[in-house]
């Protein structure tokens, strides 16, 4: 009986840890899913935007000694125009050409940004200062650290704001229209270029904030941190059904929890494979992800 109680407690605790991890995944996955939804592009440079966000946060905190929340905001504000620039230089000239062209271009951007950051900041991991105290809250037998609470609250807040923007603003409406039908949206007088730029900016702002949160949670940042995380978050987006905003949130959380529980049951060395194995399984049964719309095959 006590064994079962301990096991239950362990699972509950790990689920909480998993949700925290998943919330940061979700923030980054949203950028992938929005961009994909609007121009069907896998934006492989998104992971690098997240990395740059983490570095901006680090520099703000160590050099300018600003408050953590200010650093979060600055990171988001730096990443947004960066992503717009990337879109303008590397993707817009390729709109309408074959599918793999912007993908290769995105990989080029990603190599460029990694090298740039290595040149500026040096290649070794840098410690992220402890800006939040290690207070632990107890909810029954489950422990929440203050960092976890902050991550969950900020992630939830950002997602709510995103939903409000997409649902109730004119630009949000334009985004949804463009993603449904690019040409018709243009005919209706929507400035699609501006809408696409805005989508990139929005996704990048979330990723930048995500970078700072992850940097704080794990305590270190380095120029190659965006690679695996970017890939995993893209997985999360596909898992939830790419193009769907609630799908990305669900996918992120799902992946985070699955990973942490996988480690808990002793699959730790397979940690990086869990995300992909899960993804393949889901795709085989639901080819467009958990919440994705079925693909229309036109004859």
């Amino acid at each position: 009986m006590e064994y079962l109680w301990n096991l239950g407690q362990l699972i509950a605790q790990q689920t909480v840890n998993g949700i925290t991890l998943g919330a940061t995944y979700a923030l980054i996955a949203l950028g992938y899913t929005m961009v994909y939804g609007i121009i069907q592009l896998i934006n492989f440079a998104h992971g690098e935007v997240y990395m740059i966000g983490a570095f901006v946060g680090l520099i703000m905190i160590t050099t300018y000694e600003v408050n953590f929340f200010v650093a979060l905001l600055v990171a988001a504000l730096v990443c947004a125009p960066l992503a717009m620039l990337i879109e303008r230089v590397a993707y817009r000239p390729l709109r309408g050409s074959m599918r793999l062209a912007p993908l290769i271009s995105a990989l080029g951007v990603s190599i460029f940004l990694q090298t740039l950051m290595t040149l500026i900041q040096g290649p070794n991991p840098q410690g992220f200062p402890k800006v939040i105290t290690d207070t632990v809250y107890l909810l029954g037998p489950i422990k929440f650290s203050l960092v976890q609470v902050i991550i969950l609250v900020i992630a939830a807040l950002l997602m709510v704001i995103l939903n409000l923007i997409v649902k109730y603003t004119r630009t949000g409406k334009a985004m949804r229209a463009t993603s449904q039908d690019y040409d018709t949206a243009r005919l209706m007088g929507i400035n699609v270029n501006r809408t696409i730029s805005f989508t990139f900016a929005l996704g990048a702002a979330l990723a930048g904030a995500g970078g700072v949160l992850v940097g704080m949670y794990y305590g270190s940042v380095h120029p190659f941190m965006g690679v695996t995380v970017g890939l995993k978050c893209f997985c999360a987006a596909v898992l939830g059904g790419i193009g769907s905003i609630p799908g990305a949130m669900l996918g992120g959380i799902f992946l985070g929890v699955a990973e942490v529980l996988g480690v808990a049951i002793g699959l730790g060395t397979y940690r990086d494979a869990i995300a992909f194995a899960l993804l393949i399984l889901v795709l085989l049964f639901r080819p467009t992800g958990l919440l994705g719309r079925p693909i229309q095959r036109k004859v």
Binding site: I42, L94, I111, F112, L119, F234, F276, I280
Partner: protein
């Protein structure tokens, strides 16, 4: 003349030409899957790793002859290619791409966790069997077989699938069979390439075949021009040699490499030789020459 002799007596040039040839074999295989058949595959390096580990383990533990191991490396990789070809029935486009990427990562993690493959430390002490003549002999064989495939009934079926899968199916093409076969053949070449790689570098570890290598090979194919066999050759030659040529810029090397990728794509979105028929170019050239004579 002396310069040419110098060039071919320099082991460093031989080494980079050989490794370029090894990558070219894998890239040609990927061109069949992604370029000719139009199926996204982001996990091509995984097939290389399967070929590399298969042949190395056979050489190290069973001491079977190298050519047999090379062939078996290709065949085992092809079997996994068949396995991966089946999801392509249900998945299309980017979804297939991400599945193959996931497959590649799973293969890598499995190799890390396997005792016999040396885990994360990899396999060392593989005898050197690969040489430049063998590699380019296989490159030529690969190119010939790809041309034969491309111009066969089977190859036209593959192109039909790329252009319009539903129409191809309506025309009586067994799309599942064709796609699986394309994956098998493409993976076979990747396996051969991996086996050659292992017996050239003499040390392999799972990290050598991660997704970044897969994307590197995809780069070769896309920048050369999807579906174009000469394009793959040119793309691989340029991109595999670029890091060596760019050595003089030192630590800015990869910065330029990344920028170069973006530039090449934005200036030629279909790749360097994409949509260009070299025979046509040659014919035009000759006709022009004839006309000038008359």
């Amino acid at each position: 003349m002396e310069a040419i002799f110098d060039f071919f007596s320099n082991p460093y040039y031989i080494q980079i030409l050989t490794i370029t040839g090894v990558y070219l074999i894998a890239a040609l295989g990927l061109n069949l899957i992604t370029g000719i058949t139009g199926q996204f595959s982001f996990g091509h390096a995984a097939f290389m790793s399967i070929g590399a580990y298969t042949s190395s383990l056979l050489t190290l533990y069973l001491h079977t002859p190298f050519f047999l191991n090379l062939l078996l490396g290709g065949i085992i990789a092809a079997l996994f290619g068949v396995l991966l070809g089946f999801p392509s029935l249900r998945l299309t486009g980017d979804y297939l791409g991400i599945t193959t990427l996931g497959f590649g990562e799973i293969v890598r993690v499995v190799f890390i966790n396997t005792k016999i493959t040396g885990g994360a430390f990899g396999l060392a002490g593989i005898p050197r069997e690969t040489n430049i003549i063998l590699v380019y002999l296989i490159v030529v064989l690969t190119i010939i077989s790809l041309y034969l495939i491309k111009n066969s009934r089977f190859g036209r079926g593959l192109v039909a699938i790329r252009e319009d899968e539903i129409a191809a199916e309506a025309m009586g093409i067994n799309t599942l069979f064709y796609k699986v076969e394309a994956f098998a053949v493409g993976s076979f070449f990747a396996g051969i390439s991996g086996a050659l790689y292992a017996h050239l570098i003499q040390y392999i570890s799972p990290g050598d075949f991660g997704f970044s290598r897969s994307f590197e090979i995809l780069n070769f194919v896309v920048i050369g021009g999807l579906g174009s066999i000469p394009g793959t050759v040119v793309g691989t030659a340029i991109l595999a040699l670029a890091p060596e040529f760019l050595r003089f810029v030192q630590e800015y090397r990869m910065l330029i490499y990344g920028a170069l990728m973006v530039l090449m794509m934005t200036f030629r979105p279909r790749g360097l030789l994409g949509g260009v028929d070299l025979f046509q170019v040659w014919r035009n050239f000759r006709h022009k020459g004839l006309r000038e004579k008359i």
